[in-house]
C-alpha cells in the first residue's frame, strides 16, 4: 500500500510576526512543519509500519519548504515530492496542483492537517479530495484500514462519529490522532540521502492577497470581586472559564 502525507511549512505559533508594507514579513520568524501536518506524517509512518508499502511526503510551496520536508523524512517517511512555487497560492489552486501529483502517485491513503496554521484555512484537505473525486474524512482522531476500506473516527462540532469509506480516500488530522515522534539522530542522518523530487510549477492563484494586517489583542480586564461573596465569585469564575474562555 502507499500512504501520502501532504505537508506545509508554517511560522511557529510562538514567533512574533511583523507586517512590512502591508505584507507579513517572515524573515525573522521560526518556520516549522505545521503541527497538524505532523500528525499526518506520523500516521503515514504508522500505517506503513503496520501494513507495509511506502510512505511518501508531498509538499507544495516555496523552496524553503524543503526544511519541513527533510524533517518529515527524518521522522521516517521514505521519499518526497516537492512542487516548487514561490508566493501565495489559495488552497483551491494548491489542491488542483497537488491532485495532479497525487493522481500520478496513486496512493491508497492521503493525510493532511485538519487546519493550516498560517492562513488558518481548513480547506486544503477537502479541496484535494474534491479535485480527485475521492471521499474525505475531516478531523480524524482514529484510523483503521481493512480490506480496501477505512474505518475512521472523526470529530464533529459537539461530538464524534465513526464512518467507513472506500479507498483511496483523503483524511484530515485532528489532535489526538497520534503522538508524533521526534526525528531521531540516525533518522536525521539518513534523511540526507533520501530522495526529494523537485517539480517547478507555475499555477495561477485564484485569490490575490492585497493587504495583510495583524489583529491586535488586548485583555478584557475583567475583575471579579471576591471580597463580599467569595462563593458567588468562584462560581462566576468557573462559569466564565467554562463558557467563555472554554478552558475547563
Amino acid at each position: 500500500m502507499k500512504f501520502v502525507a501532504v505537508i506545509r511549512q508554517v511560522p511557529d505559533s510562538e514567533s512574533r510576526l511583523k507586517i512590512d508594507a502591508g505584507r507579513v514579513d517572515l524573515s525573522s520568524a521560526t518556520l516549522i512543519l505545521d503541527q497538524m501536518d505532523e500528525y499526518a506524517v506520523e500516521e503515514v509512518i504508522r500505517l506503513q509500519e503496520k501494513h507495509g508499502g511506502e510512505s511518501v511526503i508531498v509538499a507544495l510551496g516555496p523552496e524553503r519548504f524543503e526544511e519541513a520536508v527533510r524533517t518529515a523524512l527524518a521522522m521516517g517517511a521514505d521519499r518526497a515530492i516537492h512542487l516548487v512555487q514561490e508566493g501565495y497560492l489559495d488552497p483551491i489552486t494548491q489542491a488542483e496542483a497537488l491532485a495532479e501529483a497525487l493522481r500520478a502517485e496513486a496512493p491508497d491513503v492521503v493525510l493532511t492537517g485538519g487546519q493550516q496554521a498560517d492562513w488558518d484555512s481548513q480547506a486544503l484537505g477537502p479541496a484535494i479530495a474534491e479535485a480527485l473525486g475521492w471521499p474525505v474524512v475531516t478531523w480524524t482522531t482514529a484510523l483503521e484500514l481493512e480490506d480496501g476500506q477505512a474505518r475512521a473516527k472523526h470529530d464533529l462540532d459537539e461530538g464524534a462519529e465513526v464512518v467507513r469509506v472506500s479507498l483511496p480516500a483523503v483524511f484530515t488530522t485532528q489532535q489526538g490522532l497520534n503522538e508524533p515522534r521526534y526525528p531521531t539522530l540516525p533518522g536525521i542522518m539518513k534523511a540526507k540521502k533520501k530522495e526529494i523530487r523537485k517539480i517547478p510549477i507555475s499555477a495561477a492563484s485564484k485569490v490575490e492577497v492585497l493587504e495583510q494586517s495583524i489583529q491586535e489583542r488586548s485583555r478584557l480586564g475583567k475583575v471579579l470581586d471576591g471580597t463580599k461573596d467569595p462563593h458567588a465569585a468562584a462560581s462566576e469564575l468557573i462559569r466564565l472559564l467554562h463558557e467563555e474562555a472554554k478552558v475547563i
Binding site: 524543503e66 527533510r70 540516525p186
Partner: protein, 375 residues
C-alpha cells in the same frame, strides 16, 4: 546569529534536541534534583533518539556528528537538566572517545557499539582519594596475572558509578599507568553509595572499589604504559563537553533572570529599567556569548583534526567561571525569589560550581594553558 551559518542538518538536530530538552528534561529536572534519583527514563529517551553517541562514528553505532553540533546540543540539554548533561558528556566525551581513538575493533564492537547506541552508560575512573589534580600519583595497582591483570585500589568521584555498565580505569602497573576496560559485574568490583553533593544530585558520583578485580588480556585499552596520556587526551575532549554544559547552565539561569526583570516592578517600574539590574543582565549576556564562542572554537578545532588542548582548557576555564558568576547574578536579580527552590535559579547556582572543579580545576586549566602557550 549563529543559526544562519549552520547547515540544515545541524539545525534539524538542534530543533529536535531543543524540543526534547524542553518537553522531557526541563519539566522533570527539579524533581530529579529533589529526589537524587539517577535519571534513567530521561537517558532512555535520549538513547532512543540516538543522542548518547552523537560524535561516535556511524560504523560503531553512533551518529557521526561533528563536535560543533555536539556542543550546541549539549548546551540545550544542560540548560534543561545539567545532571543529564554531565552524564551524557562523560559517557560520550570520555569512554566513547577513548574507545574510538584507542580501542581495537573487537573492543569497539563489544563496548563502543552498546555505549554509542545508549544501551549502556560509560564511566571514567581516574581520580583517587589522594590523587585529584595530580593523577600521576595514583595508587590503584594493576598486577600482571596469567591471562590478564588483577586490579586493587579505590577510585573516587566517578560520575555514573554503580549505574554505568562499562568503566575505563587508569591503573599503575610495572610499565607505568595503563587504561583498562572493566565491566560492571566483574567479581571484586564494588561501588560506594552516591556522594551527598551541593548540586547535580541526579548525576550519581560514587567511589569505585577494586578488590582483586580480574581484567582479561584483551581489555587493555590502547598501549600498555600510555594510560595517563590517553586519559589526558580523553579529558581534552571531555572539557569541551563540560564547557558546553557550563554555557547551558549560564544561559538557562540568565533567561530566568531576564524574564523576571521584565515582570518584576519595584518603585513603580520594571526592575530591568534600573541600571543596576540592566547592566548586570548586559554583562551576563556578554559573558555567555564569549563562553559559547570559545567553546565552539575548541569544537571546530577538534573537527578539523588539529590539536585542541589549549582551546579546550581555555573554553572550560572561561565557561565554568561564567557559569558560576552568571548563575550567582541570576539569583541576585531574583532577590528573595532567587533563593527559593521553585524559581530554579538557585539550582543552577548549586549545579554550576562543580564545573570549576571537575575534569580539571580552574587552577589546572591555567596550568595547562600556561604550558601550552610555550609548547
Amino acid at each position: 546569529m549563529l543559526m544562519a551559518v549552520l547547515t540544515n542538518d545541524q539545525k534539524m538536530v538542534l530543533d529536535m534536541v531543543r524540543q526534547v530538552a524542553r518537553e522531557v528534561l526541563w519539566e522533570k529536572a527539579p524533581q530529579y534534583d529533589e529526589s537524587g534519583e539517577y535519571p534513567w527514563p530521561q537517558l532512555e529517551t535520549l538513547a532512543q533518539l540516538g543522542l548518547l553517541g552523537m560524535t561516535t562514528p556511524e560504523e560503531w553505532g553512533g551518529a557521526g556528528l561533528d563536535s560543533v553540533t555536539w556542543v550546541l546540543a549539549m548546551e540545550e540539554i544542560a540548560a534543561a537538566d545539567p545532571s543529564v548533561a554531565v552524564i551524557l558528556s562523560v559517557t560520550s566525551g570520555l569512554p566513547q572517545y577513548m574507545l574510538t581513538k584507542f580501542g581495537t575493533p573487537e573492543q569497539k564492537k563489544k563496548y563502543l557499539v552498546p555505549l554509542a547506541k545508549g544501551e549502556w552508560i560509560g564511566a571514567f575512573c581516574l581520580t583517587e582519594p589522594h590523587a585529584g589534580s595530580d593523577p600521576a600519583s595514583m595508587k590503584l595497582r594493576a598486577q600482571k596475572v596469567p591471562g590478564g591483570w588483577q586490579l586493587d585500589g579505590v577510585k573516587s568521584w566517578v560520575t555514573s558509578g554503580g549505574q554505568a555498565q562499562v568503566y575505563v580505569v587508569m591503573a599503575r602497573g610495572e610499565s607505568g599507568i595503563s587504561s583498562f576496560i572493566v565491566e560492571k559485574g566483574t567479581p571484586g568490583l564494588s561501588f560506594g553509595s552516591p556522594e551527598r553533593k551541593m548540586g547535580l544530585h541526579a548525576a550519581h558520583t560514587t567511589e569505585v572499589r577494586f578488590d582483586g578485580a580480574f581484567v582479561p588480556e584483551e581489555n587493555l585499552l590502547g598501549q600498555e604504559g600510555r594510560g595517563l596520556a590517553q586519559a589526558l587526551a580523553g579529558l581534552d575532549s571531555g572539557r569541551i563537553g563540560i564547557a558546553a554544559q557550563a554555557v547551558g547552565m549560564a544561559r538557562a539561569a540568565f533567561e530566568i533572570a531576564k524574564a523576571y526583570a521584565d515582570e518584576r516592578t519595584q518603585f513603580g517600574q520594571k526592575i530591568r529599567e534600573f541600571q543596576g539590574v540592566g547592566f548586570k543582565l548586559a554583562d551576563m549576556h556578554v559573558k555567555i556569548a564569549a563562553a559559547r564562542a570559545l567553546t565552539l572554537e575548541a569544537a571546530a578545532k577538534k573537527d578539523r583534526g588539529e590539536r585542541f588542548t589549549l582551546e579546550a582548557s581555555t573554553a572550560k576555564l572561561f565557561a565554568s567561571d561564567t557559569a558560576v558568576s552568571v548563575t550567582r547574578d541570576a539569583v541576585q536579580v531574583l532577590g528573595g525569589y532567587g533563593y527559593h527552590r521553585e524559581y530554579r535559579a538557585e539550582r543552577y547556582y548549586r549545579d554550576a560550581k562543580i564545573t570549576e572543579i571537575y575534569e580539571g580545576t580552574s587552577e589546572i586549566q591555567r596550568l595547562v594553558i600556561s604550558r601550552e602557550l610555550y609548547r
